[in-house]
Symmetry: C2
Subunit: 341 residues, 2 copies
């Protein structure tokens, strides 16, 4: 590390004291415009950059944000991460990405430890379970924002889309197309999004006076794997009276369903309508293009960081519950119900 210029060098060059330099550069207190001018000129010429360790030590902050993320390579999460990183960089924060791999491995002790060890100024969680009540204790002591997934019925700041409404809209659209036997492929995890998408599915059925049928509910693996989507589809399509449409709680699952259907000799959308959720990139990389619900991942990430920042600086009236708009996107995997002969 080459020798760095410090505030003292700037002070000497400008012919003022370090206090004045600090005041000018941090825009605090009154300094004569002409003095300001001198200081800025000196700082510019010397290319002065404040030493962040010293500043952080003095101000008792770390400028580090902890991000708890389960899985980078999932395009959903990587988009959210991109949003968080872009904003945090602009705000002057470093990000410490903690790969949790499995959301069930998290607990209060571990998270507390992470905070203490890194002296993080705040944390964003991407995949907390809906019954992780212990998070409330953490949120009481440290700035925290839950992104996408959050703990149900606890007043911890969170941001997401309205999964229940989105699912309902999606399924209602299928009903409007004439489908009455509609299956769902959900996931055997403890995420609130899965639960709410299930609720939305049931809402739509109820509104259309379609009786709930347990045999039409299939569970894929906790991590939404392609293979488990195929497996779930096989169960549904082997039913004596199979569904004419399947609502999936994630795009990858939907792709698995389509693959399984193809293998069973069913053409999507003619023999089976399929809808996904999230609208990740590759939903339009193969025909038929997937009908799905678009979720603004990148913006979810951006807003999370902004919310967290508001909390850190204790901005009065900072929002604690934000829902971003979603959109049902009808493409090629859904069609009018054609009564089988």
């Amino acid at each position: 590390m080459p020798r760095m210029v410090k505030i003292e060098d700037v002070a000497r060059a400008a012919g003022v004291s370090v206090a004045t330099v600090s005041r000018v550069l941090n825009e605090q207190g009154h300094v004569l415009p002409e003095t300001q001018e001198k200081v800025r000129k000196a700082a510019d010429e010397l290319r002065y950059q404040p030493n962040l360790s010293a500043r952080n030590l003095r101000k008792n902050e770390s400028r580090i944000i902890l991000i708890l993320a389960p899985n980078f390579s999932n395009p959903y999460y990587s988009n959210v991460l991109a949003g968080i990183c872009d904003v945090s960089r602009n705000l002057g924060y470093s990000t410490l990405i903690y790969n949790t791999y499995d959301s069930n491995a998290l607990d209060q002790t571990l998270v507390t430890h992470l905070f203490q060890k890194n002296r993080a100024d705040g944390m964003i969680t991407l995949a907390i379970n809906r019954d992780d009540r212990w998070l409330t204790q953490i949120a009481g002591k440290y700035p925290l924002v839950q992104c996408s997934e959050y703990v149900e019925d606890e007043p911890i700041p969170h941001i997401s889309v309205d999964n229940r409404s989105a699912a309902k809209e999606s399924v209602s659209m299928l009903i409007a197309q004439g489908h009455r036997r509609i299956g769902i492929v959900t996931s055997a995890n403890r995420y609130l999004s899965s639960a709410n998408r299930m609720r939305g599915y049931l809402d739509a059925l109820e509104e259309a006076d379609i009786a709930r049928d347990e045999s039409l509910i299939a569970y894929a693996s906790a991590d939404y794997s392609f293979a488990s989507g195929k497996q779930a589809a096989r169960e549904l399509l082997s039913l004596p009276e199979p569904p004419s449409a399947i609502f999936c709680v994630s795009d990858i699952l939907a792709l698995g369903v389509i693959a399984a259907a193809g293998k069973m000799g069913l053409q999507v959308p003619w023999d089976l309508s399929v809808t996904g959720f999230d609208d990740v990139d590759y939903t339009t990389m193969f025909h038929p293009y997937l009908t799905t619900v678009s979720v603004p991942c990148y913006d979810l990430g951006r807003r999370s960081m902004q919310l967290l920042y508001d909390q850190i600086v204790q901005k009065p009236g900072a929002e604690r519950e934000v829902y971003l708009p979603h959109k049902v996107i009808v493409r090629e995997t859904t069609a009018q119900y054609a009564k089988q002969q």
Copy 2:
């Protein structure tokens, strides 16, 4: 931020001086075993965690490493990032991910500024152009590792796969299947990987005494977009004498090629063989499964960080040029050449 316990508290609890506590906890200098015992016990009970800002200030380091990445949502990069982040966390470094979006926007001034502003201890680049010679100046002043892409003919530490050999193996495999007219879809960017994959393609042709044919070389967009892969394929397949096989420098391009072929009434692999590169997740999410070259992205990320660390701590004999093994994976998009009737 709750009040934190500091080294002084530990010293008082253990009945020793702060110097001794520091020595014990950092394992430097000789301290009586029984004194050590007392100190460790006190530190444990008080759950002491050193203040990293103070330590960094004192030791003149930042424990931050900069990552220059072009694009998170590309699964290739997100896997590399996962590897880097996992290792850096274990080594006690925070990562500052700088989203460059476009590799051509980078230059010496910008990168120098990033280093000075963040006082980063080192940097990993994921997508430098092969002619970014200015990087040599940077590498002379700061620890730096180039991952995946690197500047040609400059002695800056880098890690990647042997793209030239991998491409040659892949194309030779096509030749062994009887193909003689083999096209390539490469990318109009300035990455060394693209150049080397092109070289490998030519190597294979030359070895088989197949004359180079400029009309069989098509260029997709710089960011390997699906759409540009389709476009490139259309050019190739509209030729008076179209290729019977196409080697693509990325998986997404290959998928685009397959899509375009389908639209033109060509069945893969019967009417056309296609190979990709990288082996990202979704190459096995649709039939036909893609024949491709697997690249160990996650390990590339891990090793980059390890190499960078060796450089930061000035480990003697640290490696400066590493190639990780690749593997041609034959799946369903390639087949024996069947002479058209």
